[in-house]
Assembly symmetry: C2
Homo-oligomer: 262 residues x 2
């Protein structure tokens, strides 16, 4: 069973859920498997907190946090796991079958990671843009003839797997600081923003390519598994470049440029 | 993923489900994990076949069989697995944690068993009488503070586990007859009925104890793991005894009894 340390490490993030009954069902499954941190991104129905389906999880639902966009909901997370069934398009990040996820979780627990489990909306699941904020994709191995799961049932299956197959090692979780903290999703977004502005300032690519570049950059930064000092150093470096690009030195006389002297 | 042979071995049995949405959700989860045989015992709502929640499983729901009682629904099954969460009363048969169920299933597949997964009604789960028809109880390891799962979610979690952690060996499933077939639930019920009548005919126990004796007998017969010839032989034996008890020989003269001659 999930132990306390582990519960605190995992957030469940629902992106644009349409049916409040599914949000309530997700909350109920969280309570069943000992989790407590629910985050809801842009819910469709303003009355979702009153979902009757959150049997025994009414408090959890009341305490759920809301966000306007996925990047805000995972900004403090260091391991963002998207979820999908086998039907969904070939994703651009590593795909792990849900029953094979435990080694990744064990590693994350040992690093005291903040983990987000992200579920897409009922109709179509996570979009390509949503997925670009995920470090990896957990695939529920459903039947090819009927791959699409109900949202509440998908949450229950994922949390069952997480709760039963892997457990946070109390020893390692109790010793933060022994390893360098991972960069959070927010750290990476800051870095991506600066690099994006550099691309614009340096006229790196045509305007029509900018959105595609941003997408690839998000994926690239998540593949690197940067730690927090890495991300901070890189941010300083790129900020400096940006500043230079945006504030070009006024043309100075050749005599003032020592490197060009000889 | 579940292979065809395996799908055909497993039936999902819902006992007295109240909410048609949960029946539909169970059907959807079955389709997600490649199962097709749904049996519904004494459903509360006559319109349950129209449940909107059976997305992609409408046919499966239409083809579901109905029964008046659990014993009828599992009569052709040789391994009946009840389901429960940790909260439920101490049961009288072996309890296996759901994540540890696969060796039992592998064995059953190898024996070409007919397996039933039995789920109780929403409010209170399977009754003590329901459980007396089960060979073992699969326990979903939920949090003690909020153990009770939604029915549709419980079905999804169980079928995920079954589909992912164990698979029927095609070779052994394709070779029936190498091992003796297990007695079905119906075989055991027949045997139990005859023994029960013997108890009455022999004036074995007071009338007030008869229901308790029947209950214990059901459990006992399921613990024995009888094969089909065992059950047939035992039935013949007990039928003979019953006939003798119910048709006592008229008092004959001592001279007609050869064993009393000398």
């Amino acid at each position: 069973l999930v132990i306390t340390a582990q519960c605190d490490l995992i957030r469940v993030v629902l992106v644009s859920p349409r049916n409040p009954l599914n949000i309530g069902a997700a909350a109920r499954a969280m309570a069943n498997f000992g989790l407590s941190q629910l985050r809801v991104v842009a819910p469709y129905d303003p009355h979702w907190r009153e979902a009757q389906s959150a049997v025994g999880a009414e408090d959890l639902l009341r305490r759920a946090e809301t966000f306007r966009a996925l990047d805000e909901a995972v900004t403090d997370c260091t391991l963002v796991i998207g979820t999908a069934t086998i039907a969904q398009r070939k994703p651009e990040q590593p795909v792990v079958r849900l029953p094979d996820l435990s080694p990744y979780l064990e590693k994350a627990y040992a690093e005291n990671a903040s983990i987000a489990f992200v579920f897409g909306p009922e109709k179509h699941g996570l979009t390509r843009e949503d997925l670009s904020y995920c470090h990896l994709l957990a695939e529920i191995p459903t039947d090819q003839r009927q791959p699409s799961m109900n949202l509440g049932q998908a949450v229950a299956v994922c949390l069952y797997e997480v709760s039963v197959r892997s457990s946070a090692s109390v020893e390692s979780a109790a010793l933060p600081g022994l390893q360098l903290a991972k960069a959070t999703s927010g750290d990476l977004d800051l870095l991506a923003e600066v690099i994006d502005r550099i691309c614009v300032a340096a006229d790196y690519s045509p305007r029509t390519m900018q959105e595609a570049n941003r997408h690839d950059l998000r994926l690239l930064l998540r593949r690197f598994a940067l730690n927090e000092p890495d991300a901070r150093r890189a941010l300083g470096f790129f900020r400096k470049i940006l500043w230079r690009l945006e504030h070009p030195e006024p043309h100075t006389k050749p005599g003032n440029r020592p490197t060009e002297k000889c």
